[in-house]
């Protein structure tokens, strides 16, 4: 069984919040879309497209498993249009330039409408990736790759046309507009930053010496320089409510960490790499 690799570009149509951590009353965002967030958004859309009403946890779990089996993906990174092409702006290349260009935050409070006054203790601030660069107002895109089995039965391309990713979606955040899905003709990812090779059931991605990790990576014995973080997410399970299940993937190197020698990694569930 073979896989087809697709280069995917979506345009950000509203602020995007990918949950990271909380500092005081500020909810920080990650500067990229994690595989878990993409998996969750795709699973939600595909389940709702396939079943009505889509209220059973079992249906979500089943489609979520199918996404794991039939699709794999890289993390998606902010990109800007460059001529007829798109150029990723890596968050780690120049963090002091990246943050003021792409990240902002929105401070708000709940109002008590009968009094037309702020409700007490409700002041909060949510950080987001802006749909336009903050300096020049250019549209911001997200670029990444989706690997689909050639006999994939999931209507993921149609789902990408109505994808809402991340947090604060009730307030219109996380809206995306599909710009292009194009099959990859070579084995290059992100313009040659990494190469992929496929085997029957999985992918390996190779990085050159001093290359950057493009996803969270479990690497017990690899020579990598970078930040370690426990990769934790929240999931909806049949027992409990929204986000009450803590999904722990493991302690990983963060995207942007540097490999000391050329290295190959296997792409696992949620786009997480493993040495």
């Amino acid at each position: 069984m073979t896989w087809q690799v697709y280069h995917v570009i979506v345009r950000l149509r509203s602020p995007l919040h990918i949950g990271y951590r909380k500092v005081g009353n500020v909810q920080r965002t990650r500067p990229y879309v994690t595989g878990r967030a993409l998996w969750g958004a795709l699973t939600m859309r595909l389940t709702r497209d396939a079943t009505a009403p889509a209220t059973g946890s079992h249906a979500y779990q089943q489609i979520g498993d199918e996404v794991h089996q039939q699709l794999a993906f890289t993390y998606f990174y902010p990109a800007l249009q460059s001529g007829n092409d798109y150029q990723v702006v890596w968050p780690w290349d120049n963090e002091t330039l990246f943050r003021p260009r792409f990240l902002s935050s929105y401070q708000s409070t709940a109002l008590a409408y009968p009094q037309h006054a702020a409700a007490e203790g409700m002041l909060h601030e949510v950080e987001y990736i802006s749909p336009h660069t903050l300096d020049t107002g250019q549209p911001v895109y997200l670029q990444g790759y989706i690997f689909a089995k050639t006999d994939c039965t999931l209507a993921w391309q149609s789902a990408l046309e109505r994808l809402h990713i991340g947090g604060e979606r009730g307030y219109g955040w996380g809206a995306t507009e599909l710009v292009q899905i194009s099959p990859c003709e070579d084995d290059q990812l992100f313009g040659g930053v990494a190469q992929f090779q496929q085997s029957n059931n999985s992918f390996t991605i190779s990085l050159p010496k001093d290359g950057r990790l493009l996803a969270h990576t479990k690497a017990d014995n690899a020579a990598i320089i970078g930040n370690l973080e426990p990769l934790v997410g929240r999931e909806w399970r049949s027992h409990g409510g929204a986000g009450q299940h803590i999904a722990f993937t493991g302690v990983c190197f963060s995207p942007g960490s540097v490999v000391a020698t050329a290295q190959c990694f296997t792409v696992k569930e949620f786009g997480v790499w493993e040495a």
Partner: protein
């Protein structure tokens, strides 16, 4: 397939609207308003519309307890159209079992479409080609759509001389024809301004808007002296009256269990007649809530006469895979 629909609203401010950023002093004003990052054009955040629509819908349905952060006092939240539409938290077993239900609508930021500016020919409404197209309007100039140059403008009426937009003078590059989507064309508010539209380059739009916002100065009065209190002078800005905005509402009704039995008949929770049209789906709840903004306002300074917005015409509705059309 779960119901997936988009609605597009055309809104017009009938008061100045102030959605504050939290009282920072920024440039010339103490209390600045929320702006779109990147373009710096003011907007009304989806959070503000969402909160106001929920609160007003809850009042209309005579269950104001369905509006707040906690829905503990809503007797049957699963049967409450406001809770169903906007989401709720249900606690059972003395609060030991907590279940959160996400809402089925997303309400997006409202973006400025047509901004009123003083000119030597009276008030004109400034916009851009991109904004009009995004909102479903068609623009023709000599048979083809055209983006004006930075220093020029297209008008929807005959004029050859230069035109001022506030303090800024632009060259007139010709006449454009702007057509509203079906359903909005015959609206009085649209017709009143259709021949007073000025199209400028997107890069100029932000400057025109930010230079012509309503900026007011107020001061607290010391009641004993009847004079201004020391240090109590402050300035604040607002979107001016007669600004047109567009916003979208997405319905993702994955539950398909809207409590029709109680609501389709047009009764409130207390069995009184429901003001306005009966609610048959979550989009009706959103519309009823948004319509109340015409009476009660959104954002700050509400008690000083700020905040009212009116819905112009009926929202455009689009189901996935279908063409966009008017709701009626």
């Amino acid at each position: 397939m779960a119901t997936y629909q988009r609605q597009q609203y055309l809104l017009m401010t009938i008061d100045p609207v102030h959605i504050g950023t939290g009282g920072y002093r920024l440039g010339r004003v103490d209390n600045s308003i929320v702006r779109e990052p990147g373009t710096r054009v003011p907007k009304i955040p989806g959070t503000s519309l969402h909160g106001a629509a929920r609160s007003y819908a809850a009042q209309l349905y005579e269950t104001p307890e369905a509006a707040g952060q906690s829905q503990d006092n809503v007797q049957y939240p699963d049967q409450n159209p406001v809770c169903y539409t906007f989401g709720y938290i249900e606690k059972t077993g003395n609060g030991n079992n907590v279940k959160a239900y996400s809402g089925v609508v997303n309400i997006f930021d409202a973006h400025v479409l047509l901004f009123p500016v003083y000119s030597m020919t009276g008030p004109v409404w400034v916009t851009t080609l991109g904004r009009l197209r995004e909102a479903g309007f068609t623009v023709k100039h000599n048979g083809a759509a055209l983006e004006p140059q930075t220093s020029t403008a297209l008008l929807t009426w005959d004029r050859k001389d230069d035109l001022n937009l506030g303090w800024l003078m632009v060259n007139v590059a010709g006449k454009a024809e702007v057509t509203a989507p079906n359903g909005w064309q015959n609206e009085q508010r649209w017709q009143a301004i259709a021949n007073r539209i000025v199209l400028v380059n997107e890069s100029l739009f932000s400057h025109v808007v930010n230079s012509n916002l309503e900026v007011r100065t107020s001061v607290a009065i010391d009641p004993e002296r009847g004079a201004a209190e020391e240090g109590a002078l402050f300035t604040y800005e607002a979107l001016p009256r007669a600004t047109f905005l567009t916003t979208e509402v997405v319905l993702d009704d994955y539950r398909e269990a809207f409590p029709k039995d109680k609501c389709g008949q047009g009764k409130t929770d207390k069995n009184n007649p429901l003001p306005g049209d009966p609610w048959n789906c979550p989009l009706d709840v959103v519309k009823a809530g948004l319509r109340m903004i015409e009476w009660l306002g959104v954002g700050g300074m509400g008690t000083r006469g700020f905040g009212r917005l009116v819905i112009v015409g009926e929202p455009l509705k689009q189901k996935y895979g279908e063409e966009r059309g008017n709701e009626q």
